[in-house]
Amino acid sequence: MVANRGKPGLRRSLRRHWQLYLLIVLPLAYFVVFKYVPMTNSVIAFKDYNVVDGIWGSPWAGLQHFTAFFSNPVFWTLVRNTLLLSVYFLLAGFPIPIILALALNEIRQGFFKRTVQLVTYAPYFISTVVIVSMTILILSPRIGLVDQGFGFFGLDAPDFLGNADYFRHIYVWSDIWQTAGYSAVIYMAALAGIDPSLYEAARVDGATRLQKIINVDIPGIMPTAVIILILGAGNIMAIGFEKAYLLQNPLNLGQSEIIATYVYKTGLLNADFSQAAAVGLFNSVINLVLLLGVNVISKRVSGSGLW
């Protein structure tokens, strides 16, 4: 009997579980073809890609596409737009779900609580296209809801859609509108996991509800909040293409053109594959570095990280 040798060897595992290996072939092929081949395809960032010679046959171009991008006047605008949008997004979007979760946690189970949860969670399931259309309709001059609201107080509403300065606010706040309820769920779960004896102790000490929130609830959800913040910071350069592209119009391009939309336009609309791949690769690398960096810092400071 060779059994019970702790870790199973590959040979023995193959013999006993060949059906499992058979099963996993197809999904693994998916990851190779649609995730890993694209990574190797990134090599076209260092080549002059043309359709005839293909990815590997096209001539090498060195760092030419990168230097061209870095010296392009549009470079700093893109980096600035991407960074400002995502940092704003991260900072404004962070506290609101926490506030919602803390407030929901204070009231007792019942119709009102369920209604608030159900309603605030719902927009999460609405598509980006519809969210953007709703935003445009609601903000549109003359007929939109917001315009009417301003009119009710006898004020003229600013031109939200035509002025580039409003782009970031529209992007960020429509996103908070959509996802705050969903994000709050994770904090609600963290709150439910807090040791009840801490509340008991707070009650014995005669703490007010607010003191209880500050001294028990907030420390209790800290680890969760840190992880969510790290994940957000790691995604800073990967801010969504989908929504920015939909919200773009000729009037707000100065602030709404971000790296992801630029990649799409250069690559697929102007068919400059190599240049676009170089910009995309630059973005991915910065993103990875940011994620790893933030994780290290967070481990040092708070003791909790992703891994």
Binding site: K7, P8, L10, S13, L14, R16, H17, Q19, L20, L22, L23, I24, L28, Y30, F31, F34, K35, Y36, P38, M39, I44, I99, L100, A103, E106, I107, L118, V119, P123, F125, I126, S127, T128, V129, V130, V132, S133, M134, I136, L137, I138, I143, G144, L145, Q148, W177, I186, A189, G206, A207, R209, L210, F241, L246, A260, Y264, G267, L268, F273, G280
Partner: protein
């Protein structure tokens, strides 16, 4: 005595505090609900009332004209049918592949599961990007086919993590041992033991995939050229965001037509979003659970 005094004072403070909590929650509720109600009532108002901005929270000159036009537009109906196809087939393919990878990864005797898991999770950290992925889809000959909507996003890493965690936690080793003693192979065990027990998890990830597929427009924008293949979201984008009118609107003329085009947007939003929001209350609880398994185990 002192203690009691403090307690009385605290309940006073707490009452004010609770008032603030309810006020805050009511604000949240109103802010989320108002736009939704506005869209819904606009969709039932006359084109004229919508275009002159007279609709607020209640339909003005009630009519279902917008819905009549939307539901008779061939472009929109085609998009609807396509989206239905992508959603159903996509969810089927995705769930099958996700189980096919999550099941082996959940088994203790499966050699290399740590390695394979890290290979998969790594794709969350670093991605090839839009252009390199586009080149893969192109070289496989999938451009402008229905498969381009299904295959490139077939497996979600998040869903694999959720499925694996569920299988690991809800199926005890003793069950596998008993099945093996009965001479059942791993596939047989999957079919007759694991899948019946995993029904709730399968429902959750199927819904996640289905809603993702129903709501997505990006892959269609990248990979599809032919109008006939467009999913609803891309048709919506063309009508709602780019303002290019659907075919059905050619009938109306001039100002009337512009007004109708405005009204149509509201009806379109309702028609395309209603299916998802109507099933949502019934699945929300499971959705939350799924998200939490992922959050804890990931």
């Amino acid at each position: 005595m002192v203690k009691q005094g403090r307690k009385v004072k605290n309940t006073g403070i707490d009452r004010v505090f609770m008032f603030a909590v309810y006020a805050l929650l009511l604000t949240f509720l109103a802010v989320v609900l108002l736009p939704l109600i506005y869209i819904l009532s606009s969709s039932f108002s006359s084109p004229n009332a919508v275009s002159s901005g007279r609709v607020w929270l209640w339909p003005v000159d009630f009519t279902i004209r917008g819905y009549e036009v939307v539901l008779s537009d061939p472009q929109i109906l085609g998009g609807f049918a396509n989206s239905l196809f992508y959603t159903v087939v996509g969810a089927l393919v995705s769930v099958t592949l996700t189980i096919a990878i999550a099941y082996p990864l959940s088994r203790k005797g499966f050699y290399g599961r740590g390695f394979i898991t890290s290979i998969i999770v790594y794709t969350m950290l670093f991605a090839g990007g839009i252009i390199p992925t586009y080149l893969v889809v192109q070289s496989l000959g999938l451009l402008d086919t229905r498969w381009a909507m299904i295959l490139p996003q077939a497996i979600g890493v998040w869903q694999v993590i959720i499925a694996r965690a569920y299988l690991r936690n809800s199926i005890p080793d003793s069950l596998y041992e008993a099945a093996e003693l009965d001479g059942a192979g791993d596939l047989r065990i999957l079919w007759s033991v694991v899948l019946p027990l995993a029904k709730p998890m399968i429902a959750v990830i199927a819904l996640m995939y289905a809603i993702m597929q129903w709501n997505s427009y990006f892959d269609a924008l990248l990979y599809l050229k032919t109008d006939d293949l467009y999913p609803l979201q891309l048709v919506l984008r063309n009508i709602l965001v780019l303002n290019s009118p659907g075919n059905g609107m050619d009938a109306a003329a001039g100002i009337e037509r512009r007004h109708l085009a405005d009204l149509l947007k509201y009806s379109l939003i309702v028609v395309s979003t209603a299916p998802v929001l109507l099933i949502y209350p019934f699945v929300a609880r499971h959705f939350t659970k799924g998200a939490l398994i992922g959050a804890v185990k990931g």
